[in-house]
């Protein structure tokens, strides 16, 4: 039910385009860019020195999945006796959040964190010298 590129439109296979995203020197950790390649709308994140690129169409209702808040995963820690220690922000897992309804995605995999069978389309990111490209 998410929007995505128009259905039924013929895709030309094997003609992947490289789209310039930004100068690497201009993207710091936590930055993001939205780039458009034909019908593709792609969010490119820089997180802990690496780049991650995903479809900008949320799998819930088609919102701009990559344009919202980035925020660490919330964890509930249990003691050995199974009592709750409370809520904490993860030290290792970062999420990005669709601003329409708050659907959360794993920064490193694009998986929807409330149902990991659902996954945003992932795009390859290339670094050429000081330039960052996404392949679509």
């Amino acid at each position: 039910m998410a929007a995505g590129p128009p259905a039924g439109r013929k895709r030309v296979q094997n003609r992947m385009a490289e789209k310039f995203v930004a100068k690497a020197s201009e993207m710091t950790d936590g930055d993001r860019r939205i780039v458009f390649v034909g019908d593709h709308e792609i969010g490119v994140f820089r997180h802990e020195g690496r780049y991650y690129a995903y479809s900008n169409f949320c799998l819930h209702q088609g919102g701009p999945a990559c344009e919202g808040l980035t925020i660490a995963k919330v964890e509930e820690r249990l003691r050995p006796d199974k009592t709750s220690q409370g809520l904490y922000f993860s030290e290792t897992e970062m999420h990005f959040v669709c601003p329409w309804h708050g659907m959360e995605y794993d920064m490193k995999t694009g998986e929807c964190v409330s149902d990991r069978k659902m996954k945003l389309k992932k795009y390859q990111v290339l670094e050429k010298g000081d330039e960052v490209y996404v392949v679509a």
């Binding site: 929007a3 209702q61 088609g62 701009p64 808040l69 980035t70 601003p99 329409w100 309804h101 708050g102």
Partner: protein, 414 residues
């Protein structure tokens, strides 16, 4: 604009522009040709608290007005019952914290109207039934007379200043001061004939029984005028039973269903469907999954205890099928369950699309238009045809007119 994320980390997000935020909604509307279909949103909201200074002067009692004016001038006093809640999910739903950053034309329509038109245009919504936000808690106001005054002021402002200056795209079911039946009746008599008034709304977060004798004159007055009565639900963490919940998710999921389950039960079991057979009743913002549950539960009890519901001439579920329901927040997790729900509700004639925008769990029209089990007629009816008949709303273009005609929804709407 920066938002605060984990551990105080600042995340820069573009300033809010509703049209841009909803660009994908517009894309969906174009792909699905939704502009050709009359779409009516029977439950949308604005933030009336941002307009207190505009409508509080309409309060009638000088003393209560002075008390309220002074309170809002200082920006410290609370004039509405407040609820603990985290609708913005810690800023994850960015339109909440960024709302103030959106620019509107100071010389144009009222800001709420401009913002409303932006999201309506993005989603291809032609008409919206405008409801308040904070005032959904008005039923819990400790002062009956203040509930009356605030509803009166809001209803005057809405019908005299807001809806007449909104290109006829908003209508409302006006908020009733339900804790005072005499005053509720006066407001029906005063506002019931005004343009853009499709009916009256009772907020269901309250502790009064809808079957109490004092309300019969109110229902009769609404029915006589050919208007609609709706019940709008909400969450309430202060409700004793919900104090056991430690997460807003739980309170929100249960509360919105619970209050309508409660009042719908009293409505049906006390034979309101027999007493007011021509009064259209709409149950708003509880989603749909509760309806099959309640139909089965009440039928089961009624089969064994008809002596406690002597006014009924048919099963409770049949009365429930005579009433209307708004779609949002539609539980769309299990398609077979949803299809069963639609069948039990008689969705083709009894279900009406609602977005609940701008609230956090809004639904787009595509939640209906993309359902694989619906006929074209059902889609047209749910998205707007049924509401067009109920609220007598005309088409906004020739293709909408043709579609309304095709599915039998034009006669009363034109």
């Amino acid at each position: 604009m920066d938002l605060i994320a984990d551990r105080g980390r600042r995340v820069t997000v573009e300033e809010l522009n509703t049209s841009r935020l909803l660009a994908h909604a517009r894309k969906q509307a174009v792909q699905r040709k939704l502009d050709d279909m009359l779409i009516v949103d029977v439950d949308a909201h604005h933030y009336e608290n941002e307009n207190f200074k505009e409508f509080i002067p309409y309060m009638e009692n000088d003393v209560l007005k002075q008390l309220t004016m002074q309170s809002i001038a200082k920006s410290r006093g609370g004039i509405m019952p407040q609820n603990v809640g985290y609708q913005d999910m810690g800023g994850r739903v960015t339109r909440y914290p960024m709302r103030g950053s959106e620019k509107t034309d100071e010389k144009g329509h009222l800001r709420d109207v401009q913002l409303g038109h932006r999201w309506m245009d993005a989603m291809s919504v032609d008409y919206s039934c405008l409801f308040p936000t904070g005032m959904l808690n008005i039923g819990m106001h400790p002062q009956k007379e203040m509930e009356v005054e605030l509803c009166w002021a809001y209803n005057r402002w809405l019908t005299e200043e807001v809806m007449p200056n909104a290109e006829n795209r908003f209508f409302s079911m006006l908020c009733l001061p339900f804790n005072d039946a005499d005053e509720a009746l006066r407001q029906v008599e005063t506002f019931g004939g005004r343009k853009h008034v499709g009916g009256f709304m009772v907020t269901t977060v309250r502790n009064t029984g809808v079957q109490e004798n004092q309300y019969m004159k109110v229902y009769r007055a609404i029915e006589e005028r050919g208007l609609v009565l709706s019940f709008h639900s909400g969450p309430n963490w202060a409700e004793p039973i919900f104090k056991t919940c430690n997460r807003f998710l739980s309170v929100h999921a249960l509360g919105f269903s619970w209050y309508n389950i409660l009042h719908c039960t009293n409505w049906v079991i006390n034979g309101m469907g027999e007493r007011f057979p021509k009064l259209p009743v709409v149950w708003i913002e509880s989603g749909l999954a509760w309806v099959p549950f309640l139909m089965q539960k009440l039928d089961h009890e009624y089969m064994l205890r008809p002596s406690e519901a002597p006014l009924l001439k048919k099963k409770p579920s049949e009365y429930m099928r005579d009433m209307y329901y708004s779609t949002q927040p539609m539980e769309i997790q299990d398609m077979q369950a949803l299809e069963c729900t639609f069948r039990m509700i008689n969705a083709e004639t009894q279900l009406m699309y609602s977005s609940d925008y701008p609230h956090w769990d809004f639904d787009l029209p595509s939640t209906i238009s993309d359902l694989p089990f619906l006929t074209e007629k059902a889609k047209h009816n749910i998205l707007g045809g049924t509401a067009a008949r109920l609220f007598k709303l005309p088409p906004r273009n020739e293709k909408q007119k043709a579609n309304l005609q095709k599915f039998g929804n034009l006669t009363a709407a034109a």
